[in-house]
């Protein structure tokens, strides 16, 4: 109860002290990247018609200052995003953008989608922030016509961009090494090397090791409805250990009229699956071994000043070994292997200065082996156009055709799929002087049934149709840039959206004994508002204050069947209210960050009744960063305290989250 008041006060303070950013950090990073690639990306940056809808971004100093270990942690600060977090360093973390389901979200790593044809879920907890320079989130799609066909296909897109090498005048190599230690016996050493092979060719290698026992204390405290203490127990989370190694690296080169990049990624891990805490069960014996590897390459070239072309290719291999060692349960030992080959060819032609068209074709082959050998071929063809009327009106339209060739399986023939989805994006800047932008979009997207949906033993349903999401969005954004004033930057904006998910693929009980099947049975109606505000203050003595506030209201209701007792109820785990607040204070080489994340009340099952009620949770995190400079050596020390007020909460029912925890990090950069 005490915490409650403190929190309310904090919110009030944060809210009043100013609605908060393109934090400087971000704009700096942006500038940096422009400067580095001035020569090569001049076409992209100079063309004002590429980006119709601004995205949410976290980058540079801001990203470093937030108490985040994985990409999933950082995504909590975006509006419209709900994170499913099963707790701890090793727990699965997936995101759901605007209530449409995590399978509708595309995650792109250096421009190519990370796939999981087996279950459609990408565990963002596996992607550490160590080597990530920028995370961007786009509702709908990245509003750039010059992209791969597949990028037009997701209902929401998250782009992860790894660090771009930057070299000081006359230097050829960068070396960065660091180590983080913290609660849960967390140990995370990492190393990054960047080398300038020639003026235009750079190489990068990055490796890290993450080890944690995953042991954390959690507490269940309950009172009776009359207010008496019922029970209060503290236990240690078991079987949540993780041991992972990530190695990635690449070579990139720039040419007068193009650029290329080759990249490899390898992640290997062993972890425990901690499982649900239920009566009489405090330990489970499920173990998981993962190996995710991919190589990808990209080549972009301007054939003429008007015609540009871009080629992408990727090969991925994922290995998953699952064992249930729990002596109370039936022993399970399964190995799944997935392979993926992907190729894309995208072209852009500038008809006149303010009118671009693009045409792209993507092909992908997926294969899954073990419980059943299955494969599929997918083709995407996209046609897009961007047009700008003067400086005030921009429009982009695209159409994507998706063709899925399912393998002919003989006994149960899986129908092939062919779908065409349109998207239209508009933005309008009514005043020449004021930086006020009105924007709107409409988009349809399909998510194809996964291999599990189609083929999983007993459960799979070969006749599933793709799930359709339709989005409508209108919004406004106002920026005020006052450069050198104390009150130097201000931004405020809001988007209102209405989404509908049709033919939602859900598990449906089949006969007795918990046999399930997948059916296109769900219909969800989603209405929401995303609002954001940010302000940057520059005081004398290099004191800088950045404040940022983000709020989401969402009503996502099940409208499948009026006879269901949950008809018209909010769907599970989608809160009506959620938001975050960030305050960053920097002075010379010091940086103090405070962040607050709030997820409001929600229900853990379809029916909105007291037995399914889940309380709001909110965490207050603080970090302190100090940079020491010793000649050419830059030393950065970080101290993080998470969940300062020691809140005992659950994101997912029966998966307790850690109490207050700490991390200390130190990095040396030469």
């Amino acid at each position: 109860m005490k915490k409650t008041c403190i929190t309310r006060l904090l919110i009030l303070l944060v809210a009043l002290c100013a609605m908060p950013d393109v934090s400087l950090a971000q704009s700096e990073a942006y500038l940096d990247s422009i400067m580095t690639h001035t020569l090569n990306e001049v076409i992209v940056t100079a063309n004002r018609f590429t980006e119709v809808i601004p995205s949410q971004k976290l980058a540079g100093k801001e990203l470093e200052g937030l108490n985040s270990l994985s990409v999933a942690d950082a995504l909590r600060y975006f509006s419209g995003v709900q994170l499913k977090d099963y707790g701890g360093v090793g727990g699965i973390k997936t995101v759901n953008i605007r209530g449409m389901g995590s399978e509708q979200t595309g995650v792109y790593y250096n421009g190519i989608q990370l796939g999981n044809a087996q279950n459609g879920q990408v565990d963002l907890g596996k992607f550490s922030l160590e080597n990530i320079e920028e995370i961007s989130l786009y509702n709908g799609q990245r509003s750039d016509v010059f992209q791969t066909a597949r990028e037009f296909g997701s209902a929401g897109s998250i782009y992860l961009t790894t660090r771009r090498p930057r070299f000081k005048e006359g230097e050829r190599a960068n070396l960065k090494a660091g180590v983080k230690v913290g609660s849960f016996d967390f140990l995370n050493p990492s190393i990054l090397c960047e080398y300038k092979i020639t003026e235009d060719i750079y190489a990068t290698v990055n490796a890290e090791w993450i080890n944690s026992s995953g042991k954390y204390e959690f507490r269940y405290r309950r009172v009776t409805p009359a207010g008496d203490m019922a029970y209060d127990t503290t236990a240690v989370r078991e079987n949540g250990d993780v041991d992972a190694v990530r190695v990635e690296g690449g070579v990139q080169g720039y040419m007068p009229r193009g650029k290329w990049k080759a990249y490899m990624y390898h992640y290997t891990s062993e972890r425990g699956i901690p499982g649900a805490i239920v009566n009489n069960v405090w330990y489970r014996g499920e173990r998981l071994w993962d190996r995710n590897s991919f190589v990808q390459a990209m080549f972009e070239y301007d054939i003429t000043p008007k015609l540009s072309t871009k080629v992408h290719a990727k090969y991925a291999f994922d290995y998953t070994h699952y064992v249930n060692n729990d002596d109370k349960l039936i022993h399970v030992d399964n190995v799944y292997k997935q392979r993926e080959i992907y190729a894309s060819w995208a072209n852009k032609y500038t008809i006149v200065r303010n009118w671009d068209v693009s045409l792209a074709y993507d092909y992908q082959w997926n294969q899954l082996s073990e419980y059943r050998d299955v494969q599929r071929n997918t083709h995407w063809v996209s046609l897009a156009s961007a047009y700008a009327l003067g400086d005030c009106f921009k429009v982009q339209a695209s159409a994507l055709a998706t063709i899925v060739d399912e393998e002919d399986r003989g006994q149960a023939e899986v129908p092939d799929k062919f779908k065409v989805t349109p998207a239209v994006f508009l933005s309008y800047k009514p005043f020449e002087r004021a930086d006020l932008v009105l924007r709107a979009f409409y988009k349809q997207s399909y998510r194809m049934p996964t291999f599990n949906d189609l083929y999983y033993t007993d459960m799979g349903n070969a006749y599933l149709k793709p799930e359709l999401a339709t989005q409508h969005n209108v919004g406004v954004l106002y920026d005020l840039d006052r450069n050198d004033n104390v009150f130097s930057f201000f931004r405020i904006g809001a988007d209102v959206y209405y989404n509908k998910v049709k033919d939602k693929i859900i598990a449906y009980p089949k006969g007795q004994q918990f046999r399930w099947t997948m059916l296109n049975l769900g219909m969800v109606d989603i209405r929401g508002i995303d609002a954001q505000a940010m302000a940057v203050f520059r005081f004398p003595y290099r004191i800088e204050l950045t404040t940022k506030l983000q709020y989401t209201y969402q009503e996502a209701i099940d409208i499948t069947d009026p006879n269901d007792n949950y008809y018209g109820h909010q769907i599970p785990y989608i809160p009506w209210h959620s938001g975050s607040a960030i305050v960053m204070l920097s002075w010379q080489e010091w940086m103090l960050n405070y962040s607050f994340i709030y997820v409001g009340e929600r229900y853990n099952q379809q029916e909105n009744i007291i037995y399914n009620y889940t309380q709001p949770w909110y965490t207050n995190d603080v970090s302190l960063v100090k940079i020491f400079r010793l000649k050419d050596v830059v030393l950065k020390a970080t101290l993080e305290v998470n969940n300062i007020f020691d809140q005992d909460y659950e994101v997912i029912l029966n998966y307790p989250m850690p109490k207050r925890n700490y991390r200390v990090g130190i990095t040396v950069e030469i």
Binding site: R8, M19, T224, Y231, N280, W617
Partner: protein, 386 residues
């Protein structure tokens, strides 16, 4: 602009509601639409809601016939100090010797309570326990995991003997694969082995275990994927099979003594009737079946009553007023021993509240009540223990 900031801040503040103390799931009391039935015996009926796996939402409801109340989620109210309440996946419930026994499969325990007050007496830890039955002062509990097995695909189950006074395990016997229900005839335990985790190589036997020695003395081959075993008033066993969900459908079998002098049971009848659950009341066996039809792409439900003397199907419906249309997934059945009322539970989609329907002996709906998640197992509370 400043005012706008203030308004937004205040709005945020209004929207944001805070955490309060976490409250135990409260009991709910609703009036039965038929009102009180004074002097009724049984005085009431307990209903166990299984709760979906991992949700820890197994709950006990009570229908108070005498006073006309439906009481939802009583366990936490009566036992507030039990950490994480009743448990995960309630798989069976029985009354014996003044105690209520609830088998909690995914909590790996049998919870033992006073049958009148529902106050906890103790628990019996049995891994992956499934069903419970009683014989001569002992409880017998089937479990999916018997001895540790080297071959993961061949892990046999077991039956445990538990002393009902001390709640201590006093014996154990390895049986077939994934054993389910059990019944007693002539000091022998008949256990239905399903082999449900071995699809398509289901088990198809009944294990026969001698109560005295706790040794398996026999295995009787019946049909793939056995589930229910019930004894009728004539010392016969009614056994149901789930079939293989493909070519072999669910069936009902009758076992009787080979000859009056022998203790050995043999399959005497195979009834061409699918059966998911049954309830024998006097000479009548009420059953329902729920089976997925690949052809129709939906669940097919059948109901019926069998005369246990003639083994003939008396009717293919016991709900006569057409209200069975309202039942999405029948999941439990019970018949009131005194007035013949029939109770059928509807588990719906397994992840939302179910419904308990009551029909009179003529099959006309009397009332319906909202239950917990996956209402399944019912037992009657008599005025005095028989």
């Amino acid at each position: 602009m400043k005012t706008f900031q203030y308004i937004l801040a205040l709005l945020m503040l209004l929207c944001v509601s805070c955490r309060s103390d976490e409250i135990l799931p409260p009991a709910q009391y609703d009036q039965l639409p038929i009102g009180a039935t004074p002097h009724s015996d049984p005085v009431g009926m307990y209903l166990l809601n299984e709760g979906n796996m991992g949700s820890n939402k197994a709950t006990i409801d009570y229908v108070d016939f005498e006073n006309g109340f439906y009481m939802r989620n009583l366990y936490a109210e009566r036992n507030p100090h039990v950490i994480k309440e009743l448990g995960d996946v309630g798989n069976d419930m029985q009354i014996y010797g003044g105690k209520l026994y609830v088998v909690l499969n995914s909590s790996h325990k049998v919870e033992v309570m006073d049958v009148r007050t529902l106050v906890r007496i103790g628990q019996i830890d049995i891994a992956n326990c499934r069903y419970i039955n009683f014989h001569n002062g002992d409880a017998y509990v089937t479990s999916y995991v018997g001895p540790v097995s080297i071959d993961p695909n061949a892990q046999p189950g077991a039956v445990y003997r538990v002393d009902t006074t001390s709640l201590a395990i006093t014996g154990k016997c390895t049986v077939g694969y994934q054993p389910e229900e059990l019944a007693f005839v002539d000091d022998r335990i008949y256990i239905a082995n399903s082999g449900g985790y071995r699809k398509p190589n289901y088990d198809n036997t009944l294990s026969v275990v001698d109560v005295e020695s706790m040794k398996q003395v026999q295995k009787i081959t019946v049909a793939p994927n056995l589930h229910r075993v019930r004894k009728d008033a004539y010392g016969r066993l009614w056994v149901s099979s789930r079939g293989d969900e493909a070519t072999i459908p669910s069936r009902l079998f009758v076992l009787d003594r080979k000859d009056p002098a022998s203790r050995d049971m043999v399959v005497t009848d195979t009834l061409d009737i699918p059966c998911s659950d049954m309830c024998i009341s006097g000479d009548l066996l009420y059953f329902y079946s729920l089976a997925w039809s690949d052809y129709l792409e939906r669940n097919v439900i059948t109901y019926g009553i069998i005369d246990v003397r003639t083994k003939q199907l008396l009717t293919d419906r016991f709900i006569t007023d057409g209200s069975d249309e309202k039942i999405d997934k029948p999941y439990g059945i019970a018949v009131n021993p005194s007035n013949g009322d029939i109770y059928v539970t509807d588990a719906k989609n397994y992840v939302s509240s179910g419904t308990l329907h009551c029909y009179d002996r003529e099959g006309r709906k009397q009332w319906s009540m909202r239950t917990g998640d996956i209402p399944a197992h019912m037992v009657f509370l008599r005025k005095e223990e028989p």
